[in-house]
C-alpha cells in the first residue's frame, strides 16, 4: 500500500465512522423541550389541533371559536 492509498483508506474510515457515530448520536440524543421555531405562527401550523405546547394551548384558548371551525 502506497502513501496515497493509506491516506484514502484512513479518510474513508474516518468519514464512515463519523457518519455512523454522528447518525447514532442524532437518533438517540436526548430531545430537549419541544419547540416549533420553524413554524412560528400557530395559525399556519397543521399540527395545531394536536399540539400540546403551552403556546399552542394558549393560542387555542384565545381563539377557541375560530379553531373549532378548522
Amino acid at each position: 500500500m502506497d502513501r496515497r492509498d493509506f491516506i484514502k483508506k484512513a479518510g474513508r474510515g474516518l468519514i464512515a465512522g463519523g457518519i455512523v457515530a454522528g447518525g447514532a448520536y442524532l437518533l438517540f440524543k436526548p430531545v430537549g423541550e419541544e419547540r416549533c421555531e420553524l413554524d412560528f405562527i400557530c395559525k399556519n401550523c397543521k399540527q395545531l389541533k394536536n399540539c400540546s405546547l403551552p403556546e399552542a394551548d394558549d393560542f387555542k384558548k384565545k381563539n377557541e371559536s375560530s379553531t373549532n371551525k378548522r
Binding site: L26, L27, E33, E37, I41, K43, D58
Partner: protein, 430 residues
Amino acid sequence: MKKQIIVILFLIFTSLQFTSVFAQQRFPKPEFESGHTQPPTLKPEARAPILEYLDIVVLLVSLSLVTWLVLKKRSRIGVLLMSIFSIAYFGFFREGCVCSVGSLQNIVLAIFNPGYHIPISVLVFFAVPLLFSLFYGRTFCAAVCPLGAIQDFFLLRPVSMKAWVQSVLGVIPYIYLGLSILYAATSTDFVICRYDPFIGIFRLNATFMMFVLGGAFLLISMFIGRPYCRFLCPYGVLLNLTSRLSKKHLTITPAACIQCRLCEDSCPFGAINKPVPAKVAEDRKTIIRRYSWMIILIPVLMFIGGWTVASFHETLAKVNPKVRLASIIHENPTILDEDTSIDIDAFRSSGKTRAELFTEAADIVSDFYLGGWISGAFLGLVFGLTLTKLTIIRYRIDYTPNKGTCFSCARCVDYCPVVKDKIEIKTLKI
C-alpha cells in the same frame, strides 16, 4: 428519435397539469355569514411509520441494484431503467419527499436545535447515499436521485462546456450549501426545499414561478447535462468529496486502456480525465515557494470571505420570520394596534411582549453574525483550495473518470471497445 418523441410527450403531459395555474375563477368565492373561511392548502400529512420503513427498504434496494448495475454489469440500459423507476417512485409517487438533498437541512437542524428530533428515515436518506459514495462512487446520483434522473432523462443534445466555465459555476453549490446550512442552523427556513425546481413538477402543484424555474431547468437539461446536479446541488458537494475516496469506482474500460480515444467526448458532464503527458519535474524551490504562497493566501481568503458574509448578516437574517416581524414592529410601533395581517394577529395571540420578541430576534441576528463568519470562511477555504488545485498537475496515462464529478451514469462504458479479461476488441455497432 424515439427518445425525443418520449421527452416531448412527457413535456406536454406535465405542462397540462399546470393549466390550472393560469385559470381564473368564473365566479367570486362565496362569503359565508357564519364566518367560515376557505381552508388553506395544507402540507402533505406525515407518513405512517411502516411506510417510512418501506421507503428505507426501497432506497437500500435501489442503491444496491444501481451499484451492481454500474460496477458489475456495466449496463447503461439498466441504469436508465432504474432512473425511470426512481422518477416514478421517489419523484411522482413519493412527491420528492423525503429526499437526500433536503435531508441535509434536517441533519443541521437536529445538530443545532435541541428540541428537534430527526426521524430515522430522514437520517437514512442522508447517510446511506454518502456511505455508498464513499465505497462505490456516486451511484446514488446515477439513477436513485429523482432530481438527477429527471434531468438525465431530458438530455438530448449535450453541449460541451469550457473547463473554466465549469470550474467557476462549480463554486455555486458551495455557496448554496453554506447558505442552506446557515438558514437551517438558525431554524429560519429550509431553502433547498423551498427552491427545489422539481418538487412542484413531481407534486403537480407548482406555483407559476416554480413551474417556470423547473421548466427552465428541464429545458437547459436538454443541452447541458444535469445543470442542477453540477451547478447547484448542495448535497452533491458532500457526495463529490466522499466519492473522491471511493474504494471501487466505475472505470471506463474493464481492462487495460488501449488509448483508442473513443470515450474522450462520451461524457456529457465533462467528467473524464484525459491523459496528461509527463513533463520534466519542477525544481523543489519553485514548488515550496508556490505552496508557501498558498498557505498564506488561504487564511487571507477565509478572513475576507468571513468578513464579507458577516457584513450582510442583518440582511440575511431578515428571512427569519421572527426577525422580519420584529423589524416591522420596530419601524412602525403602532402597527400592532392597526394591522390585521396574519403575522401580527398570530403575535398578538401568542401573548408575547414586544421586548421578548426583540430579544429573540436580537439573538437570532447575532447567530447570523457568527454563522456568517463561519460560512464566509468556509467559502474562502473553498476558493483557496480551488486555486491550489489549479496549480497542481497530476500526470495520467489513461482515460479515467473524475471520481468527484462522475455521476456513474455508465454512458462512457458503451464507448469502450475493450472486453473484460480478454483484451479483445468488441464489434462496434454503427
